[in-house]
Symmetry: C2
Subunit: 263 residues, 2 copies
């Protein structure tokens, strides 16, 4: 229980142990579906478990996951969620190296801070068929419990890379012939104007400040989602969703260049 | 102060008075920019106001808005926001009738409950150049303080219609030759396949249950945002954003049919 609490509330504990907590029946069920490395499952022995929750516990047991009951009230004290969940699981990290991503569209988060935005972008990028997501240091931790919830299971599907420095990452992507594209609020070309050929990496910046100027100066392309009406700006998660789905649309309609990834 | 509290926390108080509270410098500033009917502005006399906040108070005064200081601590007790804001304003409703909307794309919310989703859709629809939004009874109140925050000022730009019954609304739209289009998680045509000619109304349903079956059966078209990867679904606000921006993209690229609205 001490460990659960630390893994939920302390980023350094998660990254030290390379493990995090997923809360709730739906998210744990998604982890089981995806074959995520579940270390242990905990359920609230004081709660009246739903049939779905019971089924998840049974499936976990059947796949050899250690299952522990928690005394009534313990889950509420430990949990991050406002609505305490009947079960949670400790799951090992399964991030990959950049070289482990398939060719296609890679989303890169530079200083995206809000856990809900990070989780929402993971969900949208997965739904739009992105090849993976790179979370740079300075961004919200992808294993933050709020992010895990907001990702709605996509954290277990979308290959994740943890990167240190965005400039180092940019160089590595360029060396792999992946085009680097920054999303900027103003001054980029219309994201829908075409010309974004895969493989490419889409960089998104901080909610308030955007991408750092020294980074945008070095990226291959800058794109902007044109804003109509009186709206001041688009939330970063919304902008990422719009661009990822535009790339998915082009892929479906066959207008995108054929995929290829060198070396 | 009693009234502020009621307007923040009680939907029936807001709709009885046809007034709501906007919290925070940015949102109140957006209300001033848009010429929203501000009845009164309150600021925290105990707070060290930022220069931006002071400027907003001065602008409000200059336009004849009544300005009241609140004793230290009052704003914290009244406020809805977790981070108490230095100022807030009571603003009159300015919803319009359906006939008051310009032709184009109208977004219709049927049973979209989460205040953050309602506000996020208002923001995205505005940014994508929609003609307006219709919020049906049963959806989250567009004047809920969380929704006002999430709309990031777009509530003051995007024409808003409050509607009672979605089926009645559908009939009224059809009578005006506006195509009715439902967004469904599965089984609709690809939203990007074309053929959605303006004027049209996009209906979005409940976060869990989607649109009611008797309504979808009567709509002119059903569209789906295809989901790639292992993602289970797209959040309703993300789906609305994707579809609204696809329509905006087509409008920019000139591939949409010329706008016309009868009668």
């Amino acid at each position: 229980v001490q460990r659960l609490r630390r893994l939920l509330h302390q980023k350094h504990a998660r990254h030290g142990d390379r493990a995090f907590v997923a809360e709730g029946t739906k998210v744990v069920s998604a982890a089981l579906d995806a074959g995520a490395p579940i270390e242990a499952l905990y359920f609230d022995a004081g709660a009246d478990l739903s049939p779905t929750a019971v089924a998840v516990v049974e499936r976990a047991r059947a796949t050899g996951v250690r299952v522990f009951p928690l005394a009534a009230g313990v889950m509420e004290r430990v949990a991050d969620a406002v609505t305490p969940q009947p079960l949670c699981a400790v799951i090992g990290f399964s991030d990959v190296a950049l070289s482990g991503l398939a060719p296609g569209v890679v989303v890169v988060l530079v200083d995206v801070r809000d856990p809900g935005n990070v989780g929402g972008i993971i969900r949208s990028a997965d739904a739009a068929g992105a090849a993976g997501i790179v979370v740079c240091e300075g961004s919200g931790d992808p294993y933050n419990p709020k992010t895990v919830r907001a990702s709605a299971g996509s954290l277990f599907h979308l290959p994740l890379v943890l990167a240190a420095d965005p400039e180092e990452l940019r160089r590595e992507l360029s060396a792999r012939a992946v085009a680097t594209v920054g999303a900027v609020a103003h001054g980029g070309v219309d994201y829908a104007a075409g010309g974004l050929d895969e493989p490419l990496a889409l960089f998104f910046g901080n909610e308030a400040a955007g991408l750092p100027a020294d980074l945008t100066a070095r990226l291959d392309h800058l794109v902007t989602v044109p804003i109509a009406g009186g709206a001041e700006s688009l939330n970063v998660a919304m902008a990422a969703t719009v661009i990822c789905f535009e790339l998915a649309r082009r892929r479906r309609s066959g207008s995108a260049a054929p995929l290829s990834m060198t070396p």
